[in-house]
Every structure is written in C-alpha cells, then in structure tokens.
Symmetry: C2
Subunit: 637 residues, 2 copies
C-alpha cells in the first residue's frame, strides 16, 4: 500500500507567475524556483522511499531497466560507429548509471528517468563531423568543454527560473517532437541494420534484418496482450510488463541456434575491458590543454546542448507527469534542471555521453508504476437477437507508485552491468537486437502519436463512422489540415536537418515551435479551433505548481481582451488601463478561465481525452488501456 | 445489376432423402442426383453469363486469379522438390487451366474454384516416396493409373448418389480440416524457405526469409484495411481486393533492387519450355505398358485419392456456399463430382497434378463476389461526458454475383500464363514470395479458425469480459475442453501422419471425423451442448437441396425419440411401429425441426453467427466484415 501523502495546496503556493510579467521579472529573483522546488518536495522524501516496497515497483524496475539499457546500448553503437569508435559501451553504461543514481536520490521528480538518448548521439557525432573538418585529435578535449559550458548554461537557466516557460508546452510542439524522435529512431534502426551488411557480410545482414523485424513484432504483440481480455488482468499485465525481457532473451538465444543461423555469423555487441574507457585514454583527458579559441567555440555548442536538454529533458519530465497520470507529489523543474547541469559537468569531465531525460521512456516508467483498474462495462445495444450487449474495457488509472526505488535500483543494475561477467552476457547479444529496439521504440512512438492516430486518422475516416460527439467535427477540415501542415512542416524540417552537418541546430527548430504556437497560431486559428486541436501537455496542478501555475493560453487572452473591450464595462475596462492593476484583473480572469479549464479537464478525465485513444468506432474502447501512456512521445511499451 | 432469378422452391423439389433410408437406398437409383442437379441448375445458365458483367466480377477475377495461381505455383515448387523434379510449372498451370475452363463452363456450381491444392502435392510426393522404394521409373505410368482409378471411383460415387452424405458435414470436421490445412501450409512455407538455404546459400536463405515474412505482413495488413473505416468503402474494398497483387508486384520488384539485395542472389521460379512437360516426356506417357500388378496397386490409391477429393472438393464447395452468403442459385454436388472424375481422368492421362476444389480459396472467391452493405450503427452509452456514442460497422452481405465469368476468365488467364512471355514474367519472382503465399494462406486460415478465435478464445478470456449472451456460457467449461480435445486430436493426428510416408492415409482420418460426430459425440455430449458448439457447415436450402435436403442431427433424433417415447402419445407412438409410416412421421418431425431450425438460423443471419466473428467486446463489431468469409477453412483474403 502506498503511504497517504498530504494533498498539496497548490492555490496557496507562493511561487506564481503571470505570463505578462515577462522575462526579466523571472530573472529578478535568482534561485527562487529551486528553493520552492526543494521546499515543496522535501517533505515527501521519506514516503518516496517507503512507497518503493511494492510488486508494481519491482515490475516497473525490470521494465524500465530494459527499456533504458537496450536503447542506450543501441545509441552507443550508433555513436561509436559515427565517432570513430570514441564512445563505447563502458561510456554509455557509466553515463546511464551516473544519471540514474544522481536523479533517483537527489531529483525532485524521480519518475523522470535520465539516461543516454538518441539525440545526444546525433549531437555528439555531428560535433565529431565538424571537428573532423579541422583536427580530429582535439575531439575529446573539445567535448569536455562542451560539457562544461553546457553545465554553466544549465545552472544559469535554473538559477534565473527560466524553466517556467516549459509550462507553455502544448501538444502542438510535444507531438511534433515525439514524431520527430520516433522517425529518427526508425532511421537509426535502418542505419544500424545497414552496418550488418558491411564488408560483404550479406548473410549476417539479412539474418539480422529478419531478427530485427521479428524482435519488433514480438515486443509489439506481447505488449498488446496487456489490452486484451486474455486470462486475468494479472497475467496480461505480466506479459506486457516483461515483453522486452522475453523478446530480448528469446531472440538472443535464437541467434545462437545451430544450423543455418550459425552460418549467419552474427555481429555481436562489442565490449572492452570493464571500467576502462573504450579508447586508450584516462577517464579525465587533459582538457585544460585545449587551445583557447576552441574553448570559446565550445561555448555556443554548449548553449545548443543546453537548448536541446531544455526541451528534451523538460518535455520528458512533463510527459512522465502527463495529464493521464493521477499524480499527488509535486514536480520540481528548476531543481532538476540544475541537477542536470551537474551531471553535464561530470559527464563532460569524464567524456561520456551527457545524459538527460528519456523522452519515450520516462512516461513508460510512470505507466509501469501506475495501478490500473480494468473493469468491464456492459453497453446494451438495440440488437436484441444477436448481440444485445457489448462489453468494453473501462480502464482507469487509480494511483501511481511515486517513489525513488525503481529508478535507484535501475541505477544499481546499470552499475552491475559495467562489471566483466555481465559485460560478457551483453556480448552474447547480436547487433540485430538493437535495430529491433530502435524499431520498437521508434515505431511505438509513431504509431501512437496523435498526429497520426487522431488528426490524420480523423481526416481519413469515412464521415459516417465518426461518432457525432467527436470535437474535431466542429473544426473545418481545411483548418485541421492547416494545423497539421505546421506540425508536419516542423517534423519534416527537423528530420531533414538531422541528416546533415547542420543537425546541431535542430534544438533551435524544435524550440521555435513554442513561440510559433503562442504568437502565430492564435492569428491563424480561432480560439475555439485551438481549444479543440491543442492542449497543454501537462495540466496537473501539482506539476505546474513548480512552473508558476497554469498559463493562460494566448487565444484565451485574446478572447478575454476582446470581451472586456466589447462589453464596455467601465470597471473592467478601467482595469486594463492602470498598469498597477493589471495583475489584479489577470487574477480575476484566471478564475473565470479556471471555470472553463475545469470543464475541459472534466472532458479529459479517465484517460479518455480525444487525443489519447484517437480511434473511432468500437475499436476505441479496446485501446483504453493503451491511452494510459501519454501522447506523442510514447513508446510502444 | 444482377438478373432477377426465380426463387427455387426447395420444398417442392423431388430429390429428398431421409437419413434412415440408408446407404443402399441411395445407390438404388443411379444417376438420380446428377439428373436433378442438371435439371435444377440449367435454367440459371443464361443468367450465369449475363450476371458476369459487373465490376465486382472483374475485381473478383483478379483476386481469385492471384490466390489460385500463386499457391498453385507454390505447391508445384513443393511437388517438384519432392518428386525429383517430375512436376513443374507447366504441369501446374495446365492442371489449373484445365480445371478452371471445365468447371466454369460445365459445373453446376461455378463458384467453387478448382485447381491444384497442397494436399494433392502431399499425395503425389508420398506416392513418389512409396514407388521409389521399388522402382522409380514406373512413377509416371503409375500416376496415370492412379488418375484413371480415381476417375472411376469418382464416377461410381456420383452415379450412386453418395455425395448426399456431404450434408452431414458439420463444423466439427470442417473446422478441424481447416486447421489441418492451415498447419500444413505453414509447414510447407517453412520447408520451402529451408530450400533457399541449400548449397550454402545462406544470404539467399535469410533474404528470402525476410521477404516471406514481409510479404505475409503486407497482404495481412492490406486486407485488414477492408474492415476499417478508412476513406470510403470503395477505397477500402479496392485495397483489400488487390492486396495479393500489390504485395506480389512490390516484393518481386524489391527482390530486384540493386545494392545488398543484389548480393542475395535470389533463387527464382524455375521455368521450362512453354507447353511442354517439365521432364523430357510426351504429354501422354505409355501408361499401358505398366505391369498389371502395379495397375492393381494403383486401385486402392485411386480410392484414397477419391476419398481425399470427396472430402476436400465437397467441403470446398460447401464453404463456398456457406451459411453467411445469401445465395439464390442451387448447388449440384453429384454432377460436379462426376465432372471432377472427368478432370481426374484427363489429368491422370496427361500426368499433371489432379485438380480439385480449393479449400481456402473457394470461399474467398464467393466472398470477393459478394456485395456488402457497410453501414454505421450508433450505440448510445451511459457515458455522456466522454463517449456518448459508439459507432460500429454493421456489415451485411446483400447479394452475390453468382456467375461463371470470373471463374472462366481466370481459366483463360491461366492459359495465357502458359505462354513463353508470361512464363518469363513468372521467372522474375523469387521463391521467397511463394513461402510468403504459404504463410498468408495458411496463417490466414488458422487465425480465423473458430477453434482458435471462438472456443479457445472463450476459454482464455477473463470471465467478466464475456458478454452475458454468449451461448458457450451455457456449456460446462470441461465439456468445451472435451469437445475441443476431439478436434485437436483429429488435427494433431492428421498433421503428424502427413509428415510420414503414411500421409497417403490421411483422408481416412479426416473422413473418420464425420461418423465420430454422428455416432460417438451424441453419447458424450447433451443435445443442447452440441447445438451450441456445432452447426451444419452449410445450411442454405438451395445448397442442401442437391443433397436431399437438410439432415436431422443425431442429437435431435435422440431427443425426438425420447420425447415420443416419453409422451406416450398413442398416435405418435404408433407412427414408429409400422415401417411404412416411418417416412410420414419423419416428415412431420422434420417440420417441427424446421421450426427450430428457422429460429437458429435467425440467430445467425447477417454474418453474425457466434462462430463467425468469435470475438467479444466491441472488437467484435470491427470484424463483422471479416466474418463474411466462411469459417475454419478461410483464407486471410
């Protein structure tokens, strides 16, 4: 049983911001965000430990361990291939372990798992490509400085409370980002498969392709069992919890079968001496010997790294706390970002890939810690002869084991993996498995992304099979296409740039989606259209309290301004005139807005938000339990 | 538009049999069945031609051409491999073309497509294995005699009206047979893939495995689009109609891509000189030179061949006319079986694989000629906030284009394939495609087999998610397992025997399921249990009229006897005493039984029989259109 934690009084929380207060007002009180983050979360620390003793936490640990370890190794293969072998398995494991130990014990939100992502791999080898144009020998030292600068930028952002802007993240950008990440993963999976064909190893190439495809299908179908009516909910959950474990053990074993498979001569995971860097170097290279000009070249790159993490880490944290999880304990974005600066610093000094929040995995972690109540719902039809009753699954997330133990144990297990005996176990795995992991994580995210499974599906569904209550029906089709056009443009641009040496700039593109949403979109769409098509990615009070409360969406503000002008109410009209009173009227408006917001939330409760399942017809009911994972940036589980 | 055909007055039809009349009574009027078959069907001949001019017939032609041609070629590969290359592509094409031309023009039921099956392949190479033990050179001449004897047995059965017993086929045996055929196909797919690895061609082997898996998935998912809400029903139907075409063209093209695929060095379909036998022999070998003893050895083998066709061809015909197709034109089992004797004779003389009814393809043919009406059904839920209405597909088969043109055009196309230019087109196809075809046809049958998707699914579904009206709930679970046990025993035995040289005896095992159902099962299960778990495979009046009308199921007879004994009604009791009156009382009883039968049918109308979709929850509604294909012996379409 989980401990009973006191409900947080978010209304009374002193950390509040109005959007109008702007950039400089936020910077004016250094460390205020971090201070309140700690103050808010510290009282829960003890419960974070004792809540960890539950079977769900054990299952969650196994699951998150595998879906953290396997992609980390996969990215390491990718990074290694693209950086002349500089980053190896020991670096990836050390980075993952470091991040897990630090964040599980010290972070404000231990649900957000931190580790090696695909984007850091992209980032690191793009820097390698750039450095290679000049002098490849300085790459290790240069990367240390990138880490140091990144750390400094992180600390600066955390101190000046600028994480607050993360509350403005809506599905518009987070879904686009999710689609982008999924696409990159699939591309990586293919690239990784192509490597198996190198040096004329055609048999290994095709055998690996086959295993990668079958691995993906195994995980996909095993996880789907979780949302069927098979056996009992315990058995279903067990199978879907351990889908990665089962698939990995089976297909690794398969690759060792005698017969034709033995002739395939599989390439396996390359390992090196335990606890030593992959290339012949000390853990800390003599970074102080780098020429000063290069140290300053590293500064903007450190900034871009911070920008990437600013979006990637915080979105991962937001989705780990997305609106479908009934969380009780508060988030702490400022403190966690400061901590991320620290791991950047340590990671930079040690020349390991810098860890940050894992976008598809973090929500899966929360999901695997969530207790679901799966009850049948009997719906009578008019068809009395053949099918008088339809049974559908009514899956409700009842509570979440919010604790630090699963994250911490995962960290310990990662440390264990660094030892020689377990490295040898890893060596038995064919590289093909990792392509399979890329496909599973990537396609998992793509095939559940609401851009596809809700909006595009809506546009491609025969009109008469759309339920009459579908909110998108109130929006003109051309406007839905218009909205999607922006998302798909953002997706296409970032995917394209990632294939070039300009990849290092992609965080700027991703970040640009936020002002696009807040400044441009309200001029192209009506408030009602945006209200139907877009939502805050996380709107829980306990989540947003760390970011200064719920923001007022620009379309709501426009509407409010219009209304107050239109109504000619002297008292209200006056409120807008005196600058000193702005804040008061804002607060008034916020209460009004609250009422509306509450209604909207009501429509979303129980994981049934229209963006969640995004399926029509009765199929919809089947996917209720799938809808429990947050959107856009969701792994297939 | 289809021509308006007169409704057949099945009650007035003079061809009637009571089960009690027995074997000898049936034999007593030679040719009676055939005579009435022709008399009944001939008036529809003209409409069979003019009904052929419709788009649905064109789409059906393309679809049936591909799902006839591709498996035929696949079986030919299997046969060729196992008979020392005796049967080649020319034999397979000639056999398919011969059967199609003959049956499309002369048969009573042109919906039943006839061609080369997997079982004839199994049969032919098992005979080869047996002959090889003695003297392999006599194989061609021996096969001619097998064909001749088979023909004679066919004619004998047709003349003595013994096809009548086919009306006793229930789902008990036809589903078991369907599962058996599906399993054999999957096994063949694997064997065929294994051939790609021969002579150390490991790269080709794995590349072929990959293509076979992807081919299967392509067809599977393209066909599933047909039962979604995608685009319009026209587009959906188009994609699922041409799934085989699209997949075959794409994956054949794929195998010709440059790059690593070129290194795979795919084995392709081996072709020989057009219109000539594959091995160096005349089309008609000197079969009259065979030693007399061998001619008589061929006699029982011809009988087994007839037994196989008796079951396989007639079941294929029954399923092509299964209860979910709203057919108007009468069947003609006796005449068609006589005709099958003729093709056996011709096929035997020419030494080509003997064609017969295609079990998974025949119902697909009917299905692709069926007009479906796919309308939305809005079901209100109590959940007013989030999902007040569920939309489900209400798919109804409205009519079937019952005609000869699709079958005939398919025959012409097969003749075309025998020419050199089109043989060269066939040569571009990698063998891998054919493994994919085996998987598609086999798994398609398995994954829709009610043994799995209804009864086993029922047993493995959590109790609370089973709709309360599910009829199986009235049967004890142990009795369902018991019933399934018999089916699975039948399946396991036939599959096992097929892997040995005793494979030639498997028709006996399959046939044995019918008396098992009629004599043994009524003693092990109550009438109610059997009524819920088993049904006549085809129960349409226009179908059964050719077989002497609907049979009385043994459990019903037991019940009736018990009732009439129990009631002590002197008039009814007397009816059983005088032999001369049996027939009258039978007819009475049949009317009573009719009433009950009608009620049962009602419960099944609209393709919603519980055995058809076999899915609970709301998923069920999605598969409505899948349920349109008959059960057990159904291809994935």
């Amino acid at each position: 049983m989980l401990t009973k934690v006191p409900t947080l009084d978010t209304q009374a929380d002193p950390y509040k911001w109005q959007d109008e207060q702007g950039f400089w007002a936020r910077c004016a009180h250094p460390c205020r965000g971090m201070w309140y983050d700690i103050k808010r979360r510290l009282p829960y620390y003890w419960s974070d430990i004792i809540d960890g003793w539950a079977y769900r936490v054990f299952a969650g640990t196994i699951r998150i361990f595998f879906i953290n370890l396997l992609p980390a190794l996969a990215f390491q293969l990718d990074m290694s291939h693209n950086t002349g072998g500089f980053f190896g398995i020991n670096e990836a494991l050390l980075s993952s372990a470091l991040a897990a130990i630090v964040f599980s014990t010290l972070s404000a939100q231990p649900l957000t798992v931190v580790g090696v992502t695909g984007l850091i791999s992209l980032f690191n080898y793009t820097i390698y490509d750039i450095i290679k144009l000049h002098d490849v020998t300085i790459y290790p030292r240069f990367m240390v400085w990138v880490g140091i600068w990144a750390a400094i930028w992180h600390w600066a952002i955390a101190i000046t409370n600028l994480c607050d802007y993360m509350r403005t993240i809506t599905d518009f950008s987070s879904q686009t980002f999710g689609l982008y990440v999924g696409t990159i993963y699939v591309v990586k999976g293919c690239e990784e498969l192509a490597i198996n064909f190198y040096d004329g190893q055609i048999a290994n190439g095709f055998a690996s392709s086959m295993i990668a495809i079958l691995y993906f299908m195994t995980v996909y179908y095993l996880e789907r069992i979780g949302s069927t009516s098979f056996a009992t909910s315990g058995v279903r959950k067990f199978i879907s919890d351990y889908a990665y474990v089962l698939a990995t053990v089976w297909w690794t074993g398969f690759s060792h079968f005698p017969g034709n498979l033995a002739y395939a001569d599989f390439i396996r995971l390359p390992i090196t001496r335990a606890f030593y860097p992959t290339v012949d170097r000390p853990w800390v290279v003599a970074f102080w010997t780098l020429e000063v000009k290069w140290i300053f070249v590293a500064l903007p790159i450190g900034f871009l790294m911070m920008l990437l993490f600013y979006y990637d880490h915080n979105v991962s944290s937001l989705t780990a706390q997305a609106r479908n999880f009934p969380l009780k304990k508060p988030a702490g974005f400022h403190w966690d970002f400061f901590l991320l600066g620290c791991t950047c610093f340590a990671g930079g000094i040690l020349n390991i890939p810098l860890p940050n929040g894992l976008v598809p995995q973090a929500p899966v972690h929360t999901d695997s810690l969530t207790y679901y109540d799966d009850t049948p719902e009997y719906i009578s039809t008019k068809d009395h002869d053949t099918e008088p009753v339809i049974v559908r699954h009514n899956t409700k997330a009842t509570k979440v084991a919010e604790q630090r133990i699963s994250h911490f144990l995962m960290g310990l297990a990662l440390v264990g993996m660094m030892t020689r005996p377990l490295l040898i176990v890893l060596r038995t795995m064919p590289r093909a498995i990792f392509s399979g992991v890329f496909f599973t994580v990537g396609l998992g995210g793509i095939l559940t992304n609401p851009i596809l499974v809700h909006k595009l599906k809506f546009l491609f569904t025969q009109r008469q099979f759309i339920p009459p209550h579908e909110p998108l029906l109130k929006v003109k089709r051309s406007q839905i296409w218009h909205y999607l056009g922006w998302q798909l443009l953002g997706w296409a641009t970032t995917v394209a740039i990632s294939q070039t040496i300009a990849a290092i700039g992609f965080p700027v593109l991703i970040m640009a989606l936020i002002p696009l949403r807040w400044k441009v979109l309200p001029r192209l769409f009506t408030g009602e259209e945006l209200e139907i098509m877009d939502h805050l990615t996380a709107d829980g009070e306990v989540v947003l309290v760390s970011l200064g409360g719920k923001p007022e969406l620009p379309e709501d503000r426009l509407l409010r301004n219009k209304e107050s002008r239109g109504r000619e109410d002297p008292e209200r009209g006056a409120a807008g005139m005196a600058a000193g009173m702005v804040q008061v009227s804002e607060r008034d408006a916020e209460f009004n807005n609250e009422g509306k917001g509450a209604l909207r939330r009501k429509n979303k409760k129980g994981g049934r938000d229209e963006d969640h399942d995004g399926t029509y017809d009765s199929e919809r009911t089947q996917v209720n339990s799938e809808s429990s994972t947050p959107e856009g940036v969701d792994a297939r589980r």
